[in-house]
Assembly symmetry: C2
Homo-oligomer: 251 residues x 2
């Protein structure tokens, strides 16, 4: 931490950070990856600073890779948080003291910070969470039971979840979260998990098929009963097109 | 400009700006408010810097008010642009020289800037465009014929238009842009103008009514013929609810 404070002003863009809301989905559970901060009972979103000549998207990707070991994950910038009151001057002073030094007036680390929020949705069984220098644990926490969080991190997490829930109204979701072949009930449970509510089975199927992003594979789940549900896969070309222009139902 | 350069480092957050894409609608035309920069043939989006203790949203509102004279306009943050190559070092040096001084290494103004994009949609006949200190004209330009623009301002304008066009698929639009009482063809022309394409009359009416945000006033346009179209107004309560949770058609 002490070395970081010495070199920060030279290495990083001033007053700017990224925070990542990494949603994990696995077996009908939706979780968020959080760090337990040292010397406090509070938790934090994985975040970091932007190097002076680094693209902001790459800074977010760097944070995600460092905390999960995962590469090639789609991170989406969703909002920049810039309330001057989001800053917790006391906590910064405390970190300064822990590094064994006196706070310096106008130090890079003690100024106001704007943070850019990014979110990702991954299959959490594939990640290897690991804490950073200022945290002593890195764990998945259920979106329904988030612990006490530092600064405005709870607000950032909530806004990311709102964005994700809004997004599934107009963009497809599920590719890389479900197995390549999946059943309609499995797809429905993914939606229900993200939305946090139950959906009508027949409406779901009708609407989903109308989007035109599914391939009906014409086969049933292997080893299943005669009445086992049919298997589908995403038509990746149409899926990707819908990511760009939105699902049917647009003007 | 010279005084600005002296005081900037003290007054403003480092390496951070806002740029506003102000869309104007009037009589079936969609335009963007641009500034013609001094000493160049290029145009720019109205923008500015964020004061050290200022909320980023308020910085954007300040820019909008200064350029249009309009208050109480809904500005929406839509994206933060942080490619290190978006910076035009040559132009900055030129502005330095025009202010009659030599560029200082590591000067506040010469560092890399991240910019936060905001957009607004207003009735452009109500605005009073006025240039800022570094521009000599402030004019409405058609979205179909945007002039040559500085830095990545064309990309910012394009992304704002994409966002606006995407937004009208899931959020209502038109309040404060149309008269309080309007006809279905007038509402349709607003949508067609924003989308830049023609829509089917019957589909439009069916879909629009299904959203449940319109009040059928049961009267025809005054002075109109017997077959004059019926008048509607927005149900503001339902309109505002749909702004928050999205239009029907969500899961």
């Amino acid at each position: 931490m002490s070395e970081f404070l010495d070199k920060a002003a030279e290495k990083y863009h001033p007053g700017l950070s990224v925070d990542c809301v990494i949603f994990g989905f696995h077996e009908n559970e939706l979780k968020v990856l959080l760090l337990k901060m040292k010397h406090t009972s509070k938790w934090a979103l994985p975040g970091g600073f932007v190097e002076k000549n680094e693209h902001i998207d790459l800074a977010a990707i760097r944070v995600l890779e460092n905390r999960t070991g995962l590469k090639d994950i789609f991170l989406k910038q969703f909002y920049t948080f810039g309330d001057p009151d989001r800053h917790d001057h006391e906590m910064d002073l405390e970190l300064f003291k822990q590094s064994g030094r006196d706070p310096v007036k106008d130090h890079w680390f003690l100024q106001r910070f704007i943070t850019m929020g990014y979110y990702a949705l991954i299959e959490f069984s594939k990640a290897s969470p690991r804490p950073d220098d200022i945290s002593d644990a890195c764990e998945w926490k259920s979106v329904d039971e988030l612990p006490d969080m530092i600064l405005d991190h709870r607000e950032i997490a909530d806004k990311a979840l709102d964005t994700l829930r809004f997004q599934i109204n107009y963009q497809p979701i599920g590719h890389k979260l479900l197995p390549v072949k999946f059943t309609m009930p499995e797809l429905q449970r993914l939606y229900e998990t993200i939305l946090g509510k139950e959906l009508d089975r027949r409406n779901f199927q009708r609407k989903m098929l109308a989007y035109g992003i599914l391939k009906d594979l014409g086969e049933r789940r292997k080893g299943g009963a005669h009445k086992a549900p049919y298997l589908y896969s995403f038509d990746v070309k149409k899926y990707n097109a819908a990511l760009k222009i939105g699902l049917k139902g647009s003007w």
